[in-house]
Amino acid sequence: MQAQMLEGGFAEAPRDAAIAFRAAMRAMAMPGAIETLTGAAGPAPLSPAASVLLLTLCDPDTPIHLAWAHDTQDVQEWITFHTGAPFVAADQAMFALGSWEALAPHQDYAIGTAEYPDRAATLIVEMPALAAQGACLSGPGIETEAQLTVPDIAFSQVNARLYPLGVDMFLTHGNRVAALPRSTQVR
């Protein structure tokens, strides 16, 4: 277990994190675009993409909420060793990680305030599949329309109506990632 905790980090943090962030930024700037994240792999059930996102974005300043199957000692130790991020309840979290069902109740996460809409949680949703098909997306970052498998169309519609408040999501599957910011209209 000791060895597992120490392994799976970035080989060359500044370079790997820069390349990973560029992919994550492209995903967030262009909702529906599916990007590849490589360079890190945490213990199961963490997907490689979610592992890379955690190493790229989290540190002692970012409280994380681990949901159900992801809330294991292995995962906790790995995140603690590599990022130092504290673990908290859903309503305190800047980042939350888990499957869509495990992340429920979804209205518990911070959606920001009218004066500081940036103080909203980012959900990292581990998806059973991720492809450019399913729901129809439109909004900033999308020229006309985009297709993407989303976890919950009804939730995303409610979330978009809260704009400029609301949570932002990264959707991960294997080493692939897409994003669903609050500004995206889903139908």
Binding site: M25, C58, E143, P164
Partner: protein, 284 residues
Amino acid sequence: MTDYNFAYLDEQTKRMIRRAILKGLAVPGYQVPFASREMPMPYGWGTGGVQLSAAVMTPDDTFKVIDQGSDDTTNAVSIRRFFERTAGVAVTEETQEATVIQTRHRIPETPLEAGQILVYQVPIPEPLRFLEPSEVETRKMHSLEEYGLMHVKLYEDISQHGAIATAYAYPVMVRDRYVMDPSPIPKFDNPKLHSPAIQLFGAGREQRIYAVPPFTKVVSLDFEDYPFEASKAEGACALCGADNSYLDEVIMDDAGHRMFVCSDSDFCTTRRARGHVGTEGVPS
């Protein structure tokens, strides 16, 4: 190169900036506060832009810097050298070749493409600041979408000058929600804010980051009877003959002679290399 972390900043600072960029992209036009760092250059020389460039840069990037359209001013040259030394990235003066372009007060004439990133240096990020000095008040005005004051300012322009006299830093409405300062670009450039590129804005001294994702709806504020006009100096570039580019006025002598030249040096050079010659140009 080995004396510095990649792209100068430490990893925790870059993570903090990167998180702010993601929130900025999720709420286009909203100014995200961030903990701006001391950089090895004074505030007002592009520290906000430099911190954004450092946070988004990868070793494979090709970097371009322009200062009022020009690649060869002191500010542009020193920032380009800074990243050549601390990040080891390739640099270019050609807009089409660049993957990350840091800019002070211009958008390149050559249309940007998907995949390119345009980083703006911003002095005062708050479009309402000269109308309302209190940050507490302007923050409340943004939260309530209370932008009447900005329209009053444009109206006063019309009543005093007969037209909207604001020529640069012309306020825009982003995605029907936030009024945003596009940094002091000439209003000629405002239509280019609707772009396939990712646009990031950084204000170092004022500690704000904001963003416009590709194809985001950006509308320059105006009135039905006084529509927005992307104006520029009349005439054509004296060197390359372009009549569709933004022009700088250059005083030639004490007798008051002057000429107009493209502000975008790469655009002008490329045109001259293709054989375009203006009234005072020399065939290359």
